[in-house]
Amino acid sequence: MNLDLRLDTQGDFYSQRFQPTEREDTLVLNMGPQHPSTHGVLRILLEIDGEYIIRAEPVLGYIHRMHEKMAEVMSYPQYLPNPGRTDYLHALAWNWAHVAAVERLMGIEVPERAEYIRVITCELNRISSHLLWWGAILLDLGAFTPIMYAFDDRERIQDIMQRNTGSRLTYCYYRFGGVSADIDDKFIEDTRAECARLKDRAKMFKDLVTDNFILRKRLEEIGEIPVDTCRKYGATGPVLRGSGQAYDVRRAEPYSIYDRFDFNIPVYDSCDSMGRYLVRMDEIQESIKIIEQALDTLPEGDYILPKAPKRPKPPAGDVYFAVEGARGKIGMHLVSDGGKSPYRLKLRAPGFSNLSLFSEVAQGTLISDAIAILASLDLVIPEIDR
């Protein structure tokens, strides 16, 4: 019996252009864009031989909103909420990249206290992003319980952040020249308590999940990404640090006041999914260290520059500003013609570069391992599609 299960003329634009190779015993499978393990609307075309992937090709654009065009038609303050809508899990890092690019172009000095508040809130946000990733990767691998623990801590962080930012997820807290509201004693007290609690929880996370035999079997030696592959694709963040390269924008291109704090850059040179897992688990603890140091040395003063422009009109010019987000290097390339909205704003999404190496890494893996690799890349699709 000769059953040809391959797509010939059926399928849509992308599957028609994803023609099977010479082999006749393969199957083209469409994963997503509604597949639960793709965390939103990522679609991947797979050519498979049994359970093994011969080729994989992500198809993007299902949640594309043209943020770059919106930047050109909105004034600078109108665009403030937009960056946080790209990577909704680490909204503050995007918010920061945007305001800092404008500040750099205008030569605005942010008050000391505002810088501290930015560091504290951005790191809190990084922890909550990593916690959600931790729950989600385990959900993808079939462990349901850990996400409940992750959300327990995540909700506490959101409660803390809600007091001064006014939102729980898509934060828009930073303004040109500072932040929108000061932090109070209750915020400081709660943050200290949560830091202490998270340090305690680390041991439980380790006993419950990290040391688990099944988890190690699912992640160790799965999805190995050599450091040179990271370089060729521009992968950054925990993906790069899980491949043994200690590159973190907070150290490599220090911005704000990160050079004042003592923290490590976790690096694992196993290059596999477990390496990327361990990097993020350690980063939670490093962020706690930064927050505690910042709280200890928090200066008095303005939380926003009193003369900060409400409707900035930066001079003509071209600047690039990069910050370290939970997923890697977030870059803003801002070109101004001196008008009230950018002439061009290019957003560099770390997930975009990180996902682009998936085609190469997924070759020859099992479908279930590909799911683990995708989860270990920590994808946020709105950030990739922008």
Binding site: R104, Y247, E253, G317, V319, A322, S336, R348, S356, R386
Partner: protein
């Protein structure tokens, strides 16, 4: 308070205001910009030199940050950003291509990660990349109807002198000592100390 006392104050305020406006005008005259732009080396190149330059950056250990494009009066300005892991420092490579025939060589063979960035530029600006393996719409729908979304209207286009008033836009040679020195020594340390 009597009015007599208030008047001199008002007068003083007036002179202050006058001073302020004078200050503003003076500021407008001289182009002001940031002390540190985020670029540690930044070059205009001619399109035929692009692959050569990117090859040199690859050998020097740079990674690709992104590929971007700016629509200008002179044509499309392609901007390639590179950075380095071991000795961080950003290199910007700028190439001007004409609006009538927007084509530039693809750097996919050197940096496979450029494939998606180039497809994005194809989507947003209609720029074509020569020898790109798979130049299909990436973020826009394949049946997108109409001009590329980031093209500007003729009246809104600015020229290079308006955006970069205080720098030269003449392409440098890839083999020049200036270029090779700049990418070898590229580091963000001195630039950041200035700001």
């Amino acid at each position: 308070m009597s009015e007599e006392n208030a008047q001199p104050e008002q007068a003083a305020e007036k002179t202050k205001k006058a001073e302020k406006t004078v200050g503003k005008e003076a500021k407008k005259e001289e182009p002001q910009g940031p002390a540190y732009t985020g670029y540690d080396a930044d070059f205009f190149l001619s399109p035929q030199d692009l692959l050569d330059a990117v090859g040199k950056l690859d050998q020097a250990g740079f990674f690709l940050e992104d590929v971007s494009c700016v629509d200008m009066q002179e044509g499309f300005q392609m901007v390639y950003h590179f950075d380095r892991f071991d000795q961080p420092g950003r290199v910007g490579i700028r190439v001007m291509i004409s609006r009538e025939n927007p084509e530039v060589p693809s750097i996919y063979d050197i940096y496979p990660g450029a494939a998606w960035h180039e497809r994005e530029c194809f989507d947003f600006f209609g720029v074509r990349f020569k020898d790109h393996p798979n130049l299909l719409p990436l973020l826009l729908a394949p049946d997108h109807d109409g001009p590329p979304p980031l093209l500007k209207e003729e009246s809104a286009l600015k020229d290079l002198h308006q955006i970069y008033p205080d720098r030269t836009h003449t392409p440098v040679s890839v083999d020049s000592q200036e270029f090779i020195q700049a990418i070898t020594n590229c580091s963000n340390k001195p630039g950041r100390d200035k700001s």
